[in-house]
Symmetry: C2
Subunit: 317 residues, 2 copies
């Protein structure tokens, strides 16, 4: 275990990363070198309201702190599904975290724990995690796309999350890939996530008469069995993804674009169409060794990334 020593006293430097969803709450103690030394999986009920969620958060973090010990503890990072007002330490526009808008949640938790607390959007935290010790280790500029119910995105530039001026950067699921494509809740049409997410796969399954309420998982299983319509769905999804990636590559010229999320196991079905589009549409891709690869930390990327935040904040001081 990595240690930090002062004269004859040595201690392990570690931070606690937290990932909070609608019903689950995970917290992990991670060393400065990226080793996860302990982990808790708790529950919370976002529907029960803000106070309940904060109490659950704090008690889970305290339990982990008790187990690992105060020695070497650097701070807490929390990945949250919503936009973060960084300076204020508040969350805005989070449909998944009702009651949190305009509440000083960072300072509240910080006071209860007497600790530094850093908030981050969960997709950004996942991108940071992959960049720290995942598929992007050693790469300071990358994009992560999370292909789930929607499409989340995180941009790491010069080793840091790109936030934008009100913390809304990286809404990569809302790149327009076709002007009159499927409508999106954001008001736009043809958003990437309406053509390349698990939800998009399910809509296409319906359109292709694969049955009502067929899940993306089931479409994948049908594709595995050789069902042609299922395979074509993934081809369409892959081409849509390729359209979005080509635009990102032409904008950023980053060396690495990572994909993660529930759709990732279907890589073999969607990747050919994706690469075909990217090759045809991005001269930058064709003329450089730009990589599009699978992320490797799975659903722990956000935990690692959240834990990295206090280390990074300390470094910046």
């Amino acid at each position: 275990m990595p240690t930090r020593c002062y004269s004859d006293v040595c201690m392990t430097e570690y931070a606690i990363g937290v990932d909070i969803g609608g019903t689950n709450l995970r917290a992990a103690a991670v060393t400065r070198e990226g080793e996860m030394i302990d982990k808790i999986s708790g529950t919370t009920n976002v529907a029960a309201g803000r106070d309940r969620v904060i109490l659950d958060l704090v008690s889970n973090i305290r339990e982990l702190l008790d187990r690992v010990g105060a020695e070497g503890f650097t701070g807490v990072g929390i990945g949250i599904p919503g936009f973060i007002l960084l300076e204020k330490g508040m969350i805005v526009g989070s449909h998944n975290m009702p009651g949190f808008d305009n509440y000083p949640v960072r300072d509240d938790i910080s006071q209860r724990l007497s600790s530094q607390v850093v908030l981050e959007n969960d997709a950004n935290a996942a991108a940071l995690g992959e960049s720290w010790i995942g598929a992007g280790k050693g790469v300071s500029d990358l994009v992560l796309l999370t292909l789930g119910t929607g499409i989340g995105g995180g941009i790491i530039s010069r080793g840091k999350v790109m936030h934008g001026f009100v913390g809304m950067a990286g809404e990569l699921g809302h790149i327009t890939i076709m002007p009159y494509g499927n409508p999106c809740g954001c008001g736009n049409r043809g958003c990437l996530e309406k053509h390349a997410s698990a939800t998009a796969i399910e809509s296409m399954a319906n359109l292709m008469a694969l049955g009502e309420n067929v899940s993306a998982r089931q479409v994948y299983e049908l594709a595995m069995k050789g069902e042609e319509r299922a395979k074509r769905i993934f081809e369409s999804m892959g081409r849509a993804l390729g359209l979005g990636l080509a635009t990102l590559i032409n904008i950023f010229n980053f060396p690495l674009y990572l994909l993660s999320g529930g759709v990732l196991p279907a890589w073999d079905f969607f990747a050919p169409g994706m690469f075909d589009e990217v090759n045809a549409r991005s001269f930058t891709y064709k003329n450089t060794n730009t990589r599009i690869e699978k992320a490797t930390l799975g659903n722990e990327a956000g935990l690692y990334g959240a834990a990295y935040l206090p280390f990074q904040a300390k470094q910046d001081k």
Copy 2:
């Protein structure tokens, strides 16, 4: 004039910015505070080959140096139409600068002048200029789109040009705005610049039977006279631009997006369609005070930006 003083000796800190095109070459002496104190407009003939261009560059810079004086001279920045390999100080893939590929042009000029020389892509230099003392003064994160024959782009993040890993970032003219739009020389279809540049306006004039070889300028004059087809061309161009801007805004969440270039005078004709699309397609735009505005430095943006480069390089040391 701003001065830098050591005990009883004072001197003006200034840098020389150079902007090089196919036949024209401009160089300006600009102080640390952004005041242009002298300027030269020279000629060069890119077709005459690399050695000729370098000689012309060096002699123009020397003339300016002679006029302003060596005192306070900080260095030279050069804006070039092409991709810059920053570490090597070379240009690649520049159709406009034949013979320069893989030649150590920065070090050559630097030795001839015994001076620090910084190279930058011309669109990036323009974005940096606007961010330094133009419409983006005081804004450290912005995007500049130059609407000319093509569409050039520059991204300024945390006060600096985003380069990407081989210097190809900011190819914003090659954002795909429609999957099966007009073909582009880059290999893609539906690139922003094939629907929103001066060249796109000219193609549309042809499609709308406004006459063959009608220039974008003439389409603008027709629109000014109330010609409906000309007005519809700018509406289409504005909507295409809005599509690209909505995607950029959703990706970056920057506070400012600037437009410049030859098409800018037609703002009143293309802006309504542009804002209409951005409003409909970007929830980030709709919910924040994101600004889309005219750049203010015109074709001197690149000169200012190029001059800023040696100051910035010095600061970073």
